[in-house]
């Protein structure tokens, strides 16, 4: 169904696979809006969700997607497992693998952890966020949300604001947007911007107003408050004043722009409540599209083609 066996990152992910996942997501979204909300397409498949790092919406989103597809899913979290007892990633995973599983969803704080997993698992591996590397399922749900809103992604002008340097969401979004022909400008304090932005084919600016006037949609990233202690930004107040999606900034724009945020939000820091809760914000649509996208990803990676949509 797809060329790829795993979904590790979007940097080298085939564009045809990406498009297929996006298009199929819309079918699942329709299903999610029916009364039944289910499509039993992965009956008998076993998926283990391995969350070595905290997660709320991604974990629930995957669990829901698996249940709606009729798969058997097992949740595993590092805080209540043998990882706490000092077991290595390899041992943990090989033990799980020997229990016969078809797919694994992994979130881990180390970049490359999901790729590492593919060595020990016969089934498909889906990266649910590996450190500052990639978060491909978030980017895919963002693409679905943009396509739903604008009808296409080619030629769209998208601004991404925040910690571009350390954000796996930014990285995956940039790869996806560039692959699909969107124009991307990133904006944030100079200490949180990559120095090699030009190589990614994107433009960089410190001027948020400029970005907002230019773009069709803006993605505000969560500012990780723990980064402040590394001295990369001086205060929440300064960040909010210069890089926050404030109501004042948004209300001055001549046209409506779509407001996105991957969550969890720091209201009053990177985004004002009035903006997050406005009509132009699609933040909750992103969450529902997350379930549809993940159903699409699981179905296309794990499905055997017998149970067609």
């Amino acid at each position: 169904m797809l060329k790829s066996k795993h979904l590790i990152g979007l940097e080298n992910f085939p564009i045809s696979d990406l498009n297929k996942i996006i298009d199929t997501s819309f079918k699942f979204k329709e299903i999610l809006q029916t009364e039944e909300r289910k499509a039993i397409l992965l009956k008998g498949k076993t998926i283990v969700n391995m969350f070595f790092e905290n997660s709320t919406r991604t974990k629930i989103s995957f669990s829901l997607a698996e249940k709606r597809l009729g798969a058997d899913s097992i949740n595993f979290s590092a805080s209540t497992s043998s990882v706490k007892k000092g077991e290595t990633l390899k041992d943990t995973v090989q033990n799980i693998e020997s229990m016969k599983i078809d797919g694994a969803v992994i979130r881990h704080s180390h970049p490359g952890s999901s790729l590492e997993l593919t060595k020990y698992i016969d089934g498909s591996v889906i990266n649910a966020g590996d450190g500052s590397h990639e978060h491909p399922t978030q980017a895919i749900l963002d693409m679905v949300t943009l396509k739903e809103k604008f009808g296409k992604i080619k030629g769209l002008k998208v601004g991404i604001v925040g910690d571009i340097l350390n954000s796996r969401v930014a990285r995956s979004d940039i790869f996806a947007l560039k692959k699909l022909g969107a124009e991307v400008v990133v904006c944030g304090p100079s200490t949180l911007l990559p120095s090699d932005a030009k190589k990614l084919g994107i433009n960089v600016t410190y001027n948020l107003n400029e970005v907002l006037h230019w773009c069709d949609a803006v993605i505000a990233l969560r500012i990780q408050l723990e980064r402040m202690h590394l001295g990369r930004i001086p205060s929440k107040r300064e960040y909010h004043s210069e890089f926050g999606l404030t109501f004042e900034r948004i209300s001055k724009l001549k046209k409506d722009i779509v407001i996105m945020h991957p969550g969890p939000m720091n209201r009053g820091v990177e985004i004002d409540s009035k903006v997050a809760d406005s009509e132009n914000a699609v933040i909750l649509d992103q969450v529902l599209n997350g379930v549809a996208s993940r159903m699409s990803i699981l179905y296309l990676l794990l499905g055997d083609g017998k149970n067609n949509l």
Partner: protein, 431 residues
Amino acid sequence: MMKRKNLKKVLLKSGRIIDPFTKKTFKGDILIENGKISKIGSAIPFKGKGYEVINCSGLVVTHGFCDIHVHFREPGREDKETLESGANAAIAGGFTQVCTMANTNPVIDSPEHIHYIVSKSEKLPIDIFPIGAVSKNQEGKDLTEMLLMQKNGAIAFSDDGIPIQNAQFMKLALTYSKMLNVPIMNHAEDIFLRNEGVMNASTTSNNLGLKGNSSLAEAIMVYRDLILATSMNCKLHLLHLSTKESVDLLKQFKSSKNSITSEVSPHHLYFVDEDIDNFNTNLKVGPPIRGKNDRKALIQAIKSGLIDCIATDHAPHTIEDKETTFNDAEFGMIGLESCFGVVNRVLVKENGMSLKSLIEKLTVNPRKVMNIDANLFAVGKQAQITIFDPNQKWTFENKHIQSKSSNSPFIGKELTGKIKYILSKNQIFTL
């Protein structure tokens, strides 16, 4: 004594006008009406009534000087200097604009502190541009709110007085300041190599039994800062360079493609470490007065334009801070009032620098470093004019000091070149 009057209609007659911005020199007049330049020409007709005429024949009429490195001790040590007494000291030295360092108590490390300095300076006779601290409380750990501070009037950022020792923090500070397009001004001395030195590490320090501060302490940090700033294409201003090694490094790194600027202080051009033979605490300064070769290299570098500007590092201290042993005395000396007489004597009279070139180092160049408007001799501009006699010899004495402190090693020294009049912020000062 310094006299001041409000500026209404003044005709500066027959002066040698040196405009360091347009690089024009000519004999002529400047007419000032309502505090602004209304005419510049070779012979402006005298209109009679209501005009004050100042005969400037034999005098040089040029831009008000700009000192981008002064310490006015307000807030915290108003007994040493206030913004007001500092402003008067600046006027006495021919300066119409100064940039104040942030190492007061409390440290100027927030937009609110910047606002305090700006609003307190509004009514003073010169422009005071506060430099904000790079790190909170100058601890070298957390960046200050530079964007908000700039919006409130911070002109640049420096932890002067305390070197930024952590290279990662310096890199972050330079990166962050890219958004502001203003320089980070580092006090370049490796604190570990400096090793509690109180004067230049040399034969003199050995003979006096004083702990030496090696010139390498400066050179190593200058090198680090130059590598960081040039590789990331950030604005860097090197404060009070004192060593030959620093000059050599600057030569190696500075080019028209990068934004590296630097300054030298009058005392490093005038004195050498051997002058400290009698433990004169007024010569205790950081970085220390260096050796003969260092002085020579600094003179060459300011002459050639490698070093951009002259900055006094005016650092007032009370008598009790200085009337003590060399080890216990505070670092620093006042420098505004004596500046021109010192640098004119050393550079122009003794080392063949042109007066025009010296004026650039006191006017256009420092303003360019700080993005301050440097085109002062244009019609409509607020008058900021300094008028001096370039040849008058005079002895620097306590009576010439407007600062609240008098810690100057120049007292009793013969200087050449004396400030006569200053026009600044709608006032004319006669010295």
